[in-house]
């Protein structure tokens, strides 16, 4: 699929909209790339000789006699070891002032993995954050987003998770990142001395929004190169997928498609699934794990973007400001890691699942007690104890600034159980109680 030396140049555009332009051309392949007036474009519709192109950076200032050259190939990204440590834009061109890389060209948005060639994910990714490791353990090959309001420190948490996770490559796909956030990531990665295993494809708010559509595919095609060809463990960070979906809706709107829920395109589910399903564990050790950010408006998860995302991803992580302790915590009720069952209790200590559930149940009792308190009712002794437990649990385990090993998280949980509750109240299988119940607090 090399571009040819001699190419036909078209100069008669018949129709221009905000995002697309049309012209008469023949022999054009669907999804083929083109250059219109120096801007990158892609074929989105062919009707006989009429070809409609989507111009990624917008059609502002394009004349009807603009030069149009078809490239004879779908969008590609150059892959190779030289990608490491580099920053690129949505087209795969360097933005770090260094020369373009010499690499093999790969089509982006390629085919999906045959499900029978996948392996069941089974490798635990410890992050040190108990709200994640204890309650929502992550597994290689998983895809999981943070559902967060824009004011929450999701970029900080994600950067932390990325650096602590044991990954061979970290690929950042930034969509509509503010310049400040972009520089934040850059700094954090540089300071951690981890730059050599990090690759970034970034579209900032300064770039045209439609370009964002390319970012996840760029990042994931690069990820597939490392995971399949090099058998590496790759962690892909996608932030912010809400802005990606917004870009999709802009395009579909300009193409006169009938919008479905929340003015999103009817194909939103499939569009998002194509990206998230690139997360995979291969039998030979390579893997792609995707951690994404989906920003919410006012915590509303019924909006089409988080809603469709939730049906695709293997769980979601919620951040919440706990006003009782003045810290941001990982919300144990609304967060969920669907793959945790594959590792907890087997890759971690056997009491992990029961300890996790018991603690969350007691935390839920505390929430009920709190409602009671707010409504002005007297609290029972049990209510008081759950409230005290909740405070300790939030501070010592749920807060995002916690950084300990899983075994320690479990020990801390048992200590809190012993301190605040009787064995019956905790309701864990007898064999674990016999083994782990803290001694001094035997009778309570």
């Amino acid at each position: 699929m090399e571009t040819k030396a001699f190419q036909k140049i078209y100069t008669k555009i018949t129709q221009i909209t905000k995002a697309t332009c049309s012209l008469k051309a023949t022999g054009i392949g669907y999804e083929e790339m083109a250059i219109v007036h120096g801007r990158l474009a892609q074929v989105v519709k062919i009707m006989g000789e009429d070809v409609t192109l989507q111009i990624f950076s917008g059609t502002e200032g394009i004349p009807t006699n603009a030069e149009v050259v078809f490239l004879g190939r779908p969008p590609v990204v150059k892959v190779g070891d030289e990608l490491s440590g580099r920053f690129f834009d949505a087209y795969g061109d360097p933005i770090d002032g260094r020369p373009a890389i010499e690499g093999e060209e790969r089509q982006i948005g390629g085919p999906s993995v045959n499900p029978v060639r996948r392996k069941q994910p089974s490798e635990f990714i410890p992050t040190g954050i108990a709200g994640i490791d204890l309650n929502n353990a992550l597994v290689t090959g998983q895809k999981i987003p943070f559902f967060a309001d824009p004011d929450q420190p999701y970029n900080e948490v994600m950067a932390n998770v990325a650096l602590r996770a044991d990954a061979d490559k970290i690929i950042l796909g930034g969509m509509g990142l503010t310049n400040d956030d972009y520089l934040y990531y850059k700094n954090v990665f540089e300071n951690a001395g981890a730059l050599d295993r990090i690759i970034s494809f970034v579209n900032t708010t300064e770039n045209p929004p439609v370009e964002r559509i390319l970012v996840p595919d760029m990042a994931l095609t690069a990820a597939e190169y490392f995971a399949v060809d090099k058998k590496q463990k790759v962690l892909v960070l996608l932030t912010d997928m809400t802005l990606y979906a917004d870009a999709l809706s802009i395009v579909s709107n300009r193409m006169d498609q009938i919008p479905s829920k929340d003015s999103m395109p009817g194909s939103l589910y499939s569009d998002l699934a194509k990206i998230y399903e690139k997360a995979v564990q291969f039998p030979d050790g390579g893997s792609i794990t995707i951690i994404a950010v989906t920003t919410l408006s006012g915590g509303d998860i019924t909006h089409a973007i988080p809603d469709n995302t939730g049906y695709i991803t293997e769980g979601q992580l919620f951040l919440r400001k706990d006003t009782d302790i003045g810290k941001v915590v990982v919300d144990p009720f609304r967060s969920l890691s669907r793959l945790k069952q594959l590792v907890i209790g087997t890759k971690t200590r056997a009491d992990h699942p029961q300890v996790m559930n018991a603690a969350i149940r007691l935390y839920a009792d505390a929430a009920n007690a709190k409602t009671k308190q707010e409504n002005g009712f007297d609290l029972t002794d049990y209510d008081e104890r759950t409230l005290n437990f909740a405070k300790d649990y939030s501070t010592k385990l749920l807060a995002i600034d916690v950084n300990v090993e899983v075994d320690q998280m479990l020990e801390t949980s048992w200590d809190l159980f012993g301190e605040h509750f009787s064995k019956v109240e905790v309701g864990i299988k007898q064999e674990f109680v016999d083994k782990h119940w803290p001694n001094e607090n035997e009778v309570k």
């Binding site: 009707m47 085919p111 045959n114 499900p115 060639r117 069941q120 469709n308 049906y311 969350i360």
Partner: protein, 590 residues
């Protein structure tokens, strides 16, 4: 396909994503299958609309690189599946390609693989003899497929009556060998092998009658079997917001349900969930036969990243395979996860064709399509007097968790069991998150089924179920009052009532799908437990103050949970039982 001499050809005239416009040079059928030649790669597509000499086809694969003037060949038939021994234990995609036969890590478009094995020899035993008169679906003989008797039948496409001229004698044969010769009503001889084809969008009707379901299908899930039972040959659906455990529940059903064969259609859902079945089922034992679960399972995997158009096909493919096995007199459980993704695929297509949209941009005929599909399930008496059944349970993923959306509403009209998953229960980790009260089973009200319960479980079973539901309702009402009035604002008796409901919730409704023992409860065990919790309900306890009530019942619940975790009727189980009896005695009013 056999008889048509000249196949219609066409050329590509336009492309929008996977909708392609084709100029044709001859007759085309609605829903006919065609292949688009993309520089040597054959892309499979289905005609979905015809306008003059232009056919609108939906392509089952990516159209990247497709150009105007590429050639198209029509096949003269609709989307068909190939039926014969070898389907069991296979992993197919939505178009019945055998996924294990495909090369490479990535799915290549245009790659079509044989759903059956050409060379494998099957041990054949004749069932019919010369002179027998059979209709479509009539049994000619059988082969052993894994451990199941797989019937070789008169093809479903055959109309009228056929006289058996000869049946091949017992021995080992491949699917292409001649198994029988039959003579039609005009005296023409027809040679039959083990294979036949059937178009997936049409129901196989080779049965005598479809009575109302009258037997229970055991699933091992207490909140279903005890409180909202599904009948063999029945239909049910599980709507729930994401994270409420739809898939975990479906997997539990596929592992434990009392069926001869399980067909799982993973339609537009996560690939890792299918991988879980691939990985675990070959290892897990079927508690009823002691064989591996995979031996009775066939998977149709069209995960969310696989082509959208094939999603629609996948549920039909699965249903057709189920109908084929039902005609052999087997008990089939068909699970589809999720029918909403299928509806979304219909929506994407309808949208590209610029049809006027119905509610939420879904096509207008969505309710009709859904109810038509559900109606293909059912218990049937075959022409030879044997019976077979398809029990169908689909999940629905309502957008935003709102049960008023079109897919849920349409399904509610078609399915007879409704298993509502509640976000609130999921949030408080009360799994399975089926809301026992919101959910219903129409079958529980069928006199046929009530008779079955009285005869096979307990003479008072229907009354006991009704009582258990009443207790749960009362418990919920009281809990609301306690929340409003405060713990000490209500009589102690209210707390008592609340906690007796909690006992049912914790011991009957909740079940640990990840525990080896608790994941599945036999009917016997369910009966014991229901009687036990009802005994507790009927027992009068004395309490001084409300805080004693909660503390006491927590002990009761804890002990009974340990019973649920223990293997039924072992020493450990009886030990816990004794413990429970002692606790009950403590506060029992003599």
């Amino acid at each position: 396909m056999e008889k048509i001499n000249k196949m219609t050809k066409g050329t590509v005239a336009g492309i929008i994503a996977n909708l392609v416009f084709v100029e044709v040079d001859g007759p085309v059928h609605q829903n006919e299958i065609c292949y688009i030649d993309l520089e040597g790669t054959k892309l499979m597509a289905e005609v979905i609309k015809i306008n003059g000499s232009q056919a609108y086809v939906q392509v089952f694969e990516s159209t990247r690189g497709l150009k105007v003037n590429h050639t198209v060949e029509f096949t003269g038939h609709m989307l068909e599946v190939t039926l014969g021994p070898g389907i069991l234990s296979k992993n197919y995609d939505g178009l019945q390609n055998d996924l294990d036969k495909m090369d490479g890590v990535f799915l290549k478009r245009g790659e079509h693989t044989n759903p059956l094995e050409d060379d494998k020899k099957w041990e054949f035993k004749p069932l019919a003899k010369a002179g027998d008169i059979l209709e479509a679906g009539g049994w000619l003989g059988e082969v052993k497929e894994n451990w199941m008797p797989h019937k070789i039948m008169v093809p479903f496409k055959f109309e009228g009556k056929y006289t058996v001229k000869s049946v091949t004698e017992a021995g080992e044969y491949t699917i292409h060998d001649t198994m029988a010769v039959v003579t039609d009503e005009k005296g023409k001889d027809i040679t039959l092998n083990m294979i036949q084809k059937w178009p997936v969008k049409l129901a196989i009707k080779a049965y005598k009658e479809k009575p109302r379901p009258f037997k229970l299908l055991e699933t091992g899930v207490r909140v279903i079997d005890t409180l909202n039972p599904i009948a063999e040959g029945g239909t049910g659906f599980i709507p729930g917001p994401f994270g409420t455990g739809k898939t975990v529940l479906q997997h539990a059903l596929s592992k434990q349900a009392d069926a001869d064969m399980i067909i799982v259609a993973a339609c537009g859902e996560r690939a890792n969930e299918v991988v879980e079945i691939f990985t675990e089922f070959p290892e897990l034992d079927d508690p009823r036969t002691g064989r591996k679960l995979m031996e009775r399972t066939t998977i149709i995997a069209n995960t969310s990243n696989m082509p959208v158009a094939a999603r629609e096909a996948s549920v039909y493919t699965a249903m057709t395979l189920a109908e084929y096995y039902r005609a052999m007199g087997l008990k089939i459980l068909l699970l589809a996860d999720s029918t909403s993704r299928w509806a979304q695929a219909l929506r994407e297509m309808s949208n590209r064709m610029e049809e006027l949209p119905g509610q939420d941009a879904f096509p207008m005929d969505l309710p009709a399509i859904i109810s038509n599909f559900y109606s293909r399930a059912g218990f049937t008496y075959l022409n030879n007097g044997e019976s077979g059944s398809i029990t169908f349970i689909g999940t629905v993923s309502p957008a935003g968790g709102n049960l008023k959306e079109p897919v849920t509403e349409s399904t509610k009209k078609a399915a007879r069991c409704f298993y509502a998953l509640s976000q609130q229960r999921a949030d408080s980790k009360r799994y399975p998150a089926i809301d026992a009260l919101e959910s219903y089973s129409k079958y529980a009200e069928y006199p046929e089924l009530q008779d079955y319960f009285r005869k096979n479980i307990d003479p008072d079973w229907p009354e006991k179920i009704a009582l258990a539901r009443d207790i749960l309702i009362r418990s919920r009402e009281v809990s609301e009052q306690i929340n409003i009035l405060g713990d000490d604002g209500v009589p102690v008796e209210y707390h008592n009532r609340f906690w007796k409901g909690e006992v049912i919730d914790f011991i009957i409704c909740q079940q640990d799908a990840f525990d080896k023992v608790d994941c599945s409860a036999s009917l016997d065990r369910q009966k014991y437990m229901l009687n036990r919790v009802l005994d507790i309900y009927h027992t009068e306890f004395s309490f001084e103050s409300f805080d004693e009530v909660g503390t006491y019942f927590k002990r009761v619940i804890n002990t009974m949970r340990q019973m649920n975790y223990a293997v039924y009727e072992t020493d450990e189980y009886h030990e816990r039982e004794k413990e429970l009896n002692l606790i009950i005695e403590e506060r029992k009013v003599a």
